[in-house]
Symmetry: C2
Subunit: 271 residues, 2 copies
């Protein structure tokens, strides 16, 4: 970090209090980290990349990286995702989660992380790691064990690509991921974002499975159908059908509504 006192003072001092001291206002590095969530094989999953270099070499982490000097935060998040995993967010829903800034969260230096959540459709998409990283999806269930144990007490450098072991995540990414999952669970209640986990067109059963997977519960088919179809603009009928093992199901696309009012309440959600 620069200690060029006069220069920093000229640019920063105007907003500083009377007891201004340049050494107290050292800038920080900024990263974006991104929890890309989707439904894979009937389970809620997140995309992780394996770190090649220290710190946390060999650990799995949320994709992300440093924000460039003249780059918007949202732009940085999607750019880093594309660079590390080859994934383009297209028109998917991307929203800021929150910012993590504990002074010791990165052992190298002070690093702030602006975290994002992405709702990716369930379509099986190839994931290409870059030269430096491998990338794969992990079921949330297979990671939550390590959340409660903390992120620093397990060396996982021998993990194979298909290992069943639950890896510890780099940095505070287990906390970020837990917050992201809770955000998604809450958002399904009062928004129509569940549909953004599906490729179009989709059936009402598929939409119900999204809720059942994310909330880890069972929903009554009739009541769910009544609720979704009575919510104006949640889904739009295409008129066509899809053939399955049983009776063909009607196909729908996403409607224009974003909010869901009154909400679809998650069972067992007592105050």
């Amino acid at each position: 970090m620069s200690r060029d006192g006069t220069k920093v003072d000229a640019r920063v001092g105007a907003n500083a209090p009377a007891d201004y001291d340049p050494s107290k206002y050292a800038p920080s590095a900024i990263t974006t980290d991104l929890a890309l969530l989707t439904i894979r094989n009937g389970r809620l999953a997140v995309l992780l990349v394996e770190r090649a270099a220290a710190p946390f070499a060999g650990y799995w982490a949320l994709p992300g990286g440093f924000v460039r000097p003249d780059e918007d935060l949202d732009t940085a998040a999607t750019r880093e995702l594309a660079e590390e995993t080859g994934i383009d967010v297209h028109d998917w829903h991307v929203e800021q989660l929150r910012t993590y800034g504990a002074p010791e969260r990165d052992p190298r230096m002070r690093v702030l992380s602006v975290a994002y959540v992405v709702f990716m459709p369930t379509d099986a998409r190839p994931v290409a790691g870059s030269a430096a990283t491998r990338a794969r999806f992990w079921a949330i269930d297979d990671l939550t064990a390590s959340v409660s144990e903390g992120a620093l007490d397990d060396a996982v450098s021998e993990l194979s690509d298909h290992a069943k072991a639950t890896p510890s995540l780099a940095f505070d990414h287990a906390c970020i991921l837990a917050d992201a999952v809770e955000r998604v669970r809450a958002k399904l209640e009062y928004t129509t974002l569940a549909a953004s986990f599906l490729d179009e067109p989709f059936t009402l059963s598929e939409l119900r499975h999204v809720y059942e997977t994310v909330w880890d519960c069972r929903l009554d088919t009739g009541n769910f159908r009544r609720k979704v179809l009575s919510a104006d603009g949640f889904v739009v009928s295409t008129g066509s059908q899809c053939s399955t093992a049983g009776r063909p199901a009607a196909l729908y696309t996403r409607g224009a509504a974003r909010a869901l009012s009154p909400p679809l309440v998650r069972p067992g959600n007592e105050s």
Copy 2:
């Protein structure tokens, strides 16, 4: 910003992609800005400070300032509030809102702002500006006009302390404030935070007035009472009463419940 390539590379490079270039990862200054909201004279109000120095000298702004090198973000937010206005957040509810990072949001240099929302009880509290700043509450209604007009097209350096004119806010603080107000409106629906705008003990009428003020609507007294009293842990009866112009009202304190499920839905909230 330092251009000491080797040193920066050694500390930052481990997380960077293969095409790493130190000049692309320049650090940024970090501020916290804080929207302290309360009910003043029956209106939703926010605490602003008048800027003494450039940029935006004479403009009103959210209290806030630079985060210190080894300081937690939450700590920085409450420290800056105390320094600029003499207000201690005590046990009030403080929550992170979101982070604002548009590259040109500060004309001096790249500055990220991590914004917070505070729910302050309505108690008339003295607000002391520091040596560099004046501080006062503004009704949200008196500021929203300037939100839609943008924050840069009005010089307000002549504004007196009791001016009725609607000032333009410094930086992108009008956007931050708009997001904060919307956050509060939403939170009253599915949390018990409305009670944190009141001093204890309070009456159910006072609690209803909080909702009516924040949502700008009228609520039926009987239905509101039924809803609040049936929500377990929202309020706790003290057994005592308070005398007003009419029949004495029963007094309550805040209960232990944080979530409100099912929610108290805001009228005219159609999807």
